[in-house]
Assembly symmetry: none
Homo-oligomer: 409 residues x 2
């Protein structure tokens, strides 16, 4: 495994009309439920994916480092060729970008969770009973109206995301530092104050401002039945990543349903495509519409991961089959490279993300048809790509798409 | 292959009650003795190891770098997740730790070899005819009594190891530098003086002191029939490595017979377990006794390497079979992860350590049962772990043992 360094690709990248499709089934990798059993992907009836495996090259991707289970943000950064250990992105930044909030250089973003606390201020429910999204909209409007840091020269934007989740953005000069989260991650304890770990005057001031806002916000929420408190997590600024266009000369489009994934895609310069519907066929219809305008297409399928986290093996199998069914429509567009992978494994058996390498296939006219004949965790073990770091995916695709000039004479 | 960097693991490590066993057969990897032949491991009847391979994941470990044959010290450092190219440890330090000599920050340790020289001072036998250990004890006592650097403010400790091997430790402020060895590695030449390569005043003084002691020692030994001279090798201080407890939050125990391996284990903070006997079953009995008190267990089997170095293919096969026989007793303890590997290859055909990747298997409830069904050099080629750097072993085990928190949201 080699961690991708962008410098050499930036030097060699060239434009042409070859299209690259990166189809990501979130949490794709699985485990057998019992000894001698099959994984979700091995169980699914996937004649189209199997054809791609037969005609292309397979391997398995390590998202972060051996043994390390990634969150969705780092896992996607890695797919986009950014080593997540080197490029750490705050959750607040991802959520803000995900709802279409354009972050500027003076903006500090946090992911907010409405919570329920008891009369002593101890957390009873970290998700405020997963209040409906309409409720979230009303509460964020209430906070927007009745909280302010204007006296400190800081603008505040409070925006709903989904259910108990919202985003708060603080805009003003000199915000920064390395800020801790307020969520103690367990019930029975009060929320924590935000602290600054950077030791800079900037960080100390920012922590004080954020704590001041939280105090106001909790007063505003005090009379709410469920969402009578809140926590802030991943309080950070946009790290200003280089864009795929700048590194690879790729005009990139993201076809995703969930905010988080749109957020990471924007971070590396992708255009987020709006479309109707939330099923794989709707995503492929959107792909068809924008096919001529872009070079690189990131399609994100969320439900494979959700079903894995629910421990629902059968539903995950069906979702993989639903994705298999749209493969012919993608092939009809004549991509030069089609990659099918996941951002990490989410075995239904473990009901959570895991560190297991992710089965991955590359298909296209220049891809070596290796000895692998089906798409699956174990089938891909013997594949031409071996065990590789996920940051290698775009580099290989660039090669298969003839988008890299020769290195040296 | 990724070289393990401890920083990320230190951040993510968490405690639980899952146990990890690292079973190391020294010099495990082999070669066929003839075309179309089998290796030692492939020849051995190993129903238990084959079961582990069938139920777990296999791969092959590269100890140092492609093509590089390691000594035992570096090879074990690598198994313990320390890149031996980055962390160089003097042989003297390893030997001193191996005999239970506690090295302090003012201590400079050297491995000593008694040698036979002719009347012109040329080495006739670099091992003084492998004198018996009792003889070694007498000679080191003689040196302890009749040599001294007290006038220079330096204490000297001379301790026996085994046969012609001993340890000398120089204790005093300001010792250091980068010191060369005295052993010319061939007979027919006189021993070399110690030189300092660091160019520091400290190094120059230390080289002079060590040479002064060597001169005294050779005078004391002059009337001995066989051990009438000596050589010093690996003259160095304890590098102060981080401990497994600090990096991985693992309470680690070493169950080894030979001093060298106890020494490396101590260097990374393992507790060396005392026990009766020197066979695999005695080691597993010791494992059982200390099972509750530790999280990580390093079991070191020496004889696979010794037989390899002797060119004794059959004896190496039998030793592997003896290890296979104790596997059920290890499994009876319910480890969460069992790793079976070697520190390097020692093919009987080559009669020496070699650079060939080492067959390695991981077994445990969270380990993917890959397509490999027996334990062997060639069987493991198709395994889920691929060809990896040995420093990845503990990281993967940490994942399989649920001992790493999720990385990022």
């Amino acid at each position: 495994m080699i961690l991708t360094d962008h410098t050499i690709y930036q030097e060699l990248a060239q434009k042409n009309d070859h299209k690259i499709v990166l189809l990501v089934m979130d949490g794709l990798g699985g485990l057998p439920m019992r000894p001698n059993g099959l994984t979700e992907l091995e169980t699914a009836y996937t004649p189209n994916l199997d054809r791609l495996a037969r005609e292309g090259s397979s391997g398995r991707a390590v998202p972060v480092r051996p043994g390390i289970t990634p969150g969705s943000g780092p896992a996607h950064l890695s797919l986009f060729s950014f080593d997540p250990v080197r490029y750490e992105i705050g959750r607040g930044v991802l959520e803000a970008l995900g709802i279409g909030f354009e972050l500027g250089p003076d903006d500090l973003a946090a992911r907010g969770n409405f919570a329920t606390v008891d009369e002593d201020g101890r957390i009873v429910d970290r998700r405020a009973g997963r209040i409906p999204t309409e409720e979230c909209v009303r509460l964020t409007q209430k906070l927007q109206e009745h909280t302010s840091l204007a006296q400190e020269g800081v603008q505040v934007f409070v925006r709903p995301v989904k259910e108990h989740r919202f985003v708060v953005v603080f805009r003003g000069p000199g915000l920064g530092g390395e800020l801790t989260e307020t969520d103690p991650l367990v019930t029975g304890k009060p929320p924590l104050p935000v602290r600054d770990l950077s030791g800079t005057p900037e960080g100390a001031r920012t922590a004080a401002l954020v704590n001041q806002w939280i105090e106001q916000a909790r007063r505003v929420l005090a009379d709410e039945p469920r969402a009578n408190s809140l926590n802030l997590r991943g309080i950070a600024k946009d790290p200003g990543l280089p864009h795929l266009q700048d590194i690879y000369q790729l005009r990139a489009a993201a076809i995703a349903v969930y905010p988080m994934y749109k957020g990471v895609a924007k971070l590396v310069g992708m255009t987020v495509i709006d479309f109707e519907g939330d099923r794989p066929q709707h995503q492929v219809a959107a792909l068809k519409k924008v096919w001529d305008a872009y070079d690189f297409f990131f399609i994100h399928i969320k439900k494979t991961d959700s079903y894995g986290e629910d421990g629902n093996f059968e539903a995950k199998v069906h979702e993989i089959e639903a994705v298999d069914a749209v493969i012919p429509d993608i092939l009809a567009l004549n991509p030069s490279v089609l990659i099918v992978t996941g951002d990490h494994s989410t075995p239904a058996r473990l009901r959570s993300h895991s560190y297991h390498p992710v089965p991955t296939l590359f298909w296209g006219p220049q891809v070596m048809p290796d000895s692998v004949t089906t798409f699956g965790e174990r089938a891909s073990e013997g594949g031409a790509l071996g065990l590789f770091h996920a940051t290698e995916i775009i580099p290989w695709a660039m090669g298969y798409a003839d988008r890299l000039k020769r290195f040296g004479a």
